[in-house]
Symmetry: C2
Subunit: 428 residues, 2 copies
């Protein structure tokens, strides 16, 4: 590998230049090895955030992060693979019904997932509320489960894009999270290294999402779709609304319960709609658009796949889920129509109740979260429950209530409510 100097690379980007392939390869490798120091990588990240990277640079940066670790290969499986990645939203439990549903349609889902940080929940945290379930699998276990069950949701190992792990932690404390080239390469390095054949990206947009407006969400989606195509992964992105939280629950066990409702053929309409939309894209990407996933929800085969997936990871799908020790009900302030329910307000409330963590070493409460009893457009009655807050720790209710304040509007009965689309756009 050609030797470079950290200051030379930083200055090239700082002064608005393009980084060469060789500079990118070197800086990622040297950073992973500790030769480039954190304070050098953070000033480079800030220069990238402010001066951007072009498509070639982003693709090379992604490749270099993949090359910092191991790349998985599922080409030996007897069925095609497809995966989904969401940029993170409140109440977004869709991975839970989606993975077994797609598996039930004959496409394997190798989902390497993470834990939650901040106001959006983590898929592994949610699944860990299922008694016995374990997130850590060996590669051999993962392959075996993909072959036998068709779906696995587990923790990404240390050797999956280790450069990204270091860089992600650094960006979090240096004000350099919000750089589209770095967000796109972070997500795509992990998904490409994971070895999926097809990928569907759920790019959230709205108050509860990382991307607050459609143009930036579209830019991120387009960047990631291009990276996927360059890497030979069939990639499609859906831009979906995250101004309102998904479904009726945000937390861990409460989201598992709602996911099971969806797998049983019920559940909130928006969760079902998004799960089916993403499943159809995954099936199409894997060449199996002959199967209609709605049938697999209806005939119980998705639920069978869910139970098999949970059992394969030592979980008991039939055991009762943990329940929070304390609850607190918020009633509707007036009778009328719920016209707004802010995703960020709900997400912060769930987080403060103990469903999420502030630092990565913090534990989460399995039972904590928020349940809301109406969605925008629904009628509400003064004094009837609007939210139920759940926590093991009564002292947390005050701060959670403060998060919810101003986070919803009830208009007089008869007020017209026009819902926006859940799936805003498709980029592929």
């Amino acid at each position: 590998m050609t030797q470079h100097d950290a200051v030379e690379v930083i200055i090239a980007k700082r002064d608005g230049g393009e980084l060469s392939d060789s500079q990118i390869d070197w800086v990622i490798d040297a950073y992973t090895k500790g030769v480039v120091a954190d304070e050098q990588m953070s000033s480079l990240a800030m220069a990238i955030l402010l001066n951007g990277m072009n498509r070639r640079e982003i693709a090379r940066w992604t490749d270099a992060m993949i090359a910092s670790g191991d790349r998985m290969d599922f080409s030996g499986l007897s069925r095609p693979t497809a995966d989904k990645h969401s940029t993170g939203g409140v109440g977004d439990k869709v991975t839970l019904p989606l993975a077994p549903l797609v598996a039930a349609c004959g496409v394997a889902v190798p989902q390497l997932s993470g834990r939650g940080l901040g106001h959006t929940g983590g898929t592994l945290d949610k699944l860990e509320s299922v008694p016995g379930w374990r997130a850590a699998l060996t590669n051999t276990e993962m392959f075996g489960q993909l072959e036998s069950v068709g779906a696995v949701i587990c923790a990404a190992g240390d050797q999956l894009a280790p450069a990204d792990k270091l860089l992600y932690a650094l960006r979090d404390v240096t004000g350099t999270v919000e750089a589209i080239p770095l967000i796109a390469s972070s997500i795509m390095s992990k998904k490409i290294a994971e070895g999926t054949g097809a990928l569907v990206l759920d790019v959230k947009v709205g108050t509860g999402a990382f991307m607050k407006d459609v143009p930036r969400a579209r830019e991120l989606a387009e960047t990631m779709v291009a990276l996927g195509k360059d890497a030979g992964v069939h990639t499609v992105a859906l831009l979906t609304d995250m101004s309102t939280p998904l479904g009726l629950t945000a937390g861990n066990a409460v989201e598992v319960a709602e996911s099971v409702e969806v797998l049983a053929g019920g559940g909130p309409a928006d969760v079902v709609e998004l799960t089916l939309a993403l499943a159809r894209e995954m099936l199409a990407g894997a060449g199996r658009d002959d199967v209609d996933p709605a049938d697999k929800l209806a005939d119980g085969s998705a639920m069978d796949a869910w139970k098999a997936m949970i059992r394969a990871q030592d979980g008991d799908p039939d055991a009762p889920l943990p329940v929070a020790r304390e609850s607190h009900v918020v009633t509707a302030p007036s009778t009328g129509v719920l016209t707004r329910l802010d995703a960020m307000a709900v997400g912060l409330a769930a987080w403060r109740l103990g469903a999420g963590r502030a630092r990565k070493e913090d534990p989460v409460q399995a039972g904590a979260g928020v349940v809301w009893h109406a969605r925008p457009g629904d009628r509400v009655t003064e004094g009837e429950p609007l939210f139920t807050l759940l926590s093991d720790d009564e002292a947390r209710f005050d701060r959670a209530l403060a998060s919810l304040e101003g986070g919803y509007d009830v208009a007089p009965a008869g007020t017209a409510y026009e819902p926006g689309p859940l799936v805003i756009d498709r980029i592929g």
Copy 2:
């Protein structure tokens, strides 16, 4: 002090906002105490470099760096004080004759100086080639010497703007040196903390300077003059040429010898011109423009002050200066007129010969350096010496010769040569 969060401060500047006084006070204090980490300060420095700071922000940043340590006070001295700071140039030995000259005119010069890093030499390194001379003085020694001799050149203590020391070292390795707000606040925090009553800034511009073009040099000069005025220090800046090195020597002992020539009433015309121009500004700033410094060079009193200054710091001004063990002569390639001598080429050659250091813990060679035997406009004769390279280490000549290559032009005899002005502009 109001508490802030490093990421909040970084994001404010990253997104093009102004930092509040409270944010600036906090971030400098917290960085000095290690609460804000290097990787956070470096991403903030990059954001400042790319998004700038306004005059209020720069002034507050400077004040916060001063407040990180001790501020000296010379108001108890029996005479006014004036100091000079150069942004760094090749062959720039002017501080050496200037400080005793101004002292001989009745104005005290409290020069807290640094060591060289890179291609421009350090004043302390040069003076340390004088046998016995020591750079470290206590505050008591410094006051006593200012009262008795009137001039002191010594090392800045650890308590002079310690935040600047940390930040300077960080900027050096993170590609964030070239930010005018950070350069200006770094220089001015030290000079204001040093407690001088008047200050003259020698802002170098040209190939051998930090600022390569006049507009950026002017911007830096104007920023620093404004900071000085805000702090109640009478501040003037001269923009001076650094496309050609000053005098006929670049190194340590060779520059001391040339300075002594100037103090003896001789020396290269450009060094004399710049020394007198800066002396007149310092005297005017200190309210002593009734004295003509040229008289003090002519009557030997500046030389007396030099000897007293050197002796007060245990140096022997009459001892022979160190001589390099090896020398190598470069002859003129043709007969004609020297029309260009590039300051950067000469500076790099002197540095590679051992006169400067690559890392701050490296030693320097007292005898190493470059002597040139002609200045632009001078006639040269084929085969006659044009440069003498000096080093204790013969192995260094090759790389020094490579630096000089292409660094000078000899045109046919009779070619017209129009020198540019040495003092380009005055800002005050």
